[in-house]
């Protein structure tokens, strides 16, 4: 990790550390597979899974890719990349929290005749503004049903 004075700019390898990280990665893999088998609630499952994945990725990036102790220029370039990637999530957040999701498909149950679904289905085939309401109404129901 630390630069040496061998006229190299490459990092001095630390084999002991590499093997320890290998062990940690194997353990974390087992952990993440085991967690997924237990039927946790959706947000908790996603949160835990992503956390474990992030830890594994951080280990690979910092130790194997020598990012720990690397020149600041590389770090800056990567932070800019992360920022660019993050702004892609802006419209997503808007879509989920702010706007009416008029592009979400009407759920299958709503489209089949029978029960109160028929009324919604009739509305859904009518004009665009009505479809918006139908989709918005069915969305909370669909979201609960789909998970």
């Amino acid at each position: 990790m630390a630069k040496n004075n061998n006229n190299h700019d490459e990092h001095r390898p630390n084999v002991g550390l590499y093997l320890k990280v290998f062990g940690a990665l194997m353990v974390l893999t087992v952990v993440t597979v085991a967690i997924s088998k237990v039927h946790l609630s959706r947000p908790l499952a996603i949160g835990l899974g992503l956390t474990v994945a992030s830890v594994k990725a951080a280990l690979v990036c910092a130790i194997f890719m020598h990012l720990w102790g690397e020149n600041k220029v590389i770090h800056k370039a990567l932070w800019i990349t992360v920022a660019c990637g993050a702004i892609m999530l802006l419209p997503l957040i808007d879509c989920l929290l702010v706007a009416q999701r008029i592009t979400a498909p009407v759920s299958v149950a709503e489209q089949h005749p029978g029960g109160h679904g028929e009324a919604h289905a009739a509305e859904a085939h009518a004009t665009e503004p009505v479809k918006v309401e139908a989709a918005a109404k069915s969305k909370p129901a669909a979201k609960k049903g789909g998970h």
């Binding site: 660019c84 892609m88 802006l90 808007d94 879509c95 702010v98 706007a99 009416q100 979400a104 498909p105």
Partner: protein
């Protein structure tokens, strides 16, 4: 992949096209396509326009025989445009169903990005003041760039403002706007660059007469094609219609389509002198000296055409790149490589 492999990344459920149900499974979102496409394509258009702006700056400094006005402003503005270009993409999608809040966000960022663009154009125009202007072909193109790119940029403002964009989206006004910035903007600047650096590439000058024919023909026909589109769009003419006369409000402006078409054919014809000029001058053009434009920058310090390795020996740089008309010197330019 949606077309070839019948995936449904963008196809919503149960979509029916031309009477036939879609062969894939459905469940996709067209909005996804729009965001992905414009996230790429907006920075792309700044990729298209920033290098030509640099070319114009270079040629203006050279042919006014004075340093650029506001060089630092120019550079910081270009960097600012580069950064801001990543957060404006959804101004192409104001009527896609986004919430007003998100629309406002992109409205603000779009208005912000217009500021450095205007700053650059202003610096370039101010660079002309007090200059000893030489009206050669590269300068003609660079001068033409200024007002025409200005038109392109200014017509972009109503498109960036959400309220007016609701009316103008998907009309001919949009086509007029982006063609003004790219065609009368970038492409004119690229022609300027070709005429300017051709002597360096081939050691010969391009023919002036053919060049002037090309210049006047190209600039006027470009305006002839895209100018009418601006007011056709304001009249409400929509894009991508198979039969525009089906919309009643399009009828009064349909005549302008004829003007555009004839101008387009004329534009194509006016490129013939350029193509002939380019290839003829490569072999039979008037031979020229190493630095025919009396420029100061490094590329003019090597032979024309440059040999392998460009320079006979590594050049030493003694000063900045725009030392024109330095007081007290005999020559009106002072090359970077010339020792004091």
């Amino acid at each position: 992949m949606d077309r070839v492999f019948h995936t449904s990344f963008y196809m919503p459920k149960d979509i029916v096209i031309l009477g036939q149900a879609y062969a894939g499974s459905g469940g996709g979102q067209p909005l996804l396509w729009q965001h992905l496409f414009w996230f790429l394509a907006h920075p792309e258009v700044y990729v298209l326009v920033l290098p030509p702006m640099g070319i114009v700056a270079e040629i203006i400094a050279n042919n006014t025989r004075k340093p650029l006005h506001g060089y630092k402003t120019l550079v910081y503005s270009m960097m600012g445009i580069g950064i801001m270009s990543f957060v404006v993409w959804a101004h192409h999608m104001f009527i896609s169903g986004m919430s007003a809040a998100l629309g406002n966000f992109f409205l603000v960022t779009t208005m912000i990005i217009s500021v450095p663009s205007v700053a650059i154009l202003t610096c370039l125009i101010f660079s002309l003041k007090g200059g000893s202007i030489r009206y050669n072909l590269p300068m003609a193109y660079a001068l033409a760039f200024l007002p025409l790119f200005g038109i392109g940029g200014l017509t972009g403002l109503p498109l960036g403002l959400t309220v007016t964009d609701i009316y103008l989206h998907d009309t001919y006004y949009v086509i007029g706007h982006f063609h003004f910035v790219v065609v009368t903007g970038s492409i004119i600047a690229l022609f300027a660059g070709v005429y300017h650096w051709f002597p360096k590439w081939y050691g010969r000058k391009m023919n002036d007469t053919l060049g002037w024919i090309h210049f006047w023909g190209t600039v006027t026909t470009m305006c002839g094609i895209f100018g009418p589109m601006l007011f056709m769009g304001l009249a409400g003419a929509s894009r991508r219609l198979y039969d525009p006369t089906a919309q009643f409000h399009n009828l009064p402006v349909q005549g302008w389509n004829v003007v555009s078409t004839y101008s387009a054919y004329a534009l194509a014809l006016f490129q013939l002198p350029f193509v002939y000029n380019f290839f003829h001058s490569m072999w039979r053009g008037e031979k020229t000296v190493e630095n025919p434009w009396q420029a100061t920058t490094l590329e003019w310090a090597c032979p024309s055409p440059p040999p392998h390795g460009n320079f006979e020996k590594t050049p030493t740089v003694h000063r900045g790149p725009y030392e024109y008309s330095v007081p007290g010197r005999k020559n009106d330019f002072w090359m970077q490589t010339e020792p004091s």
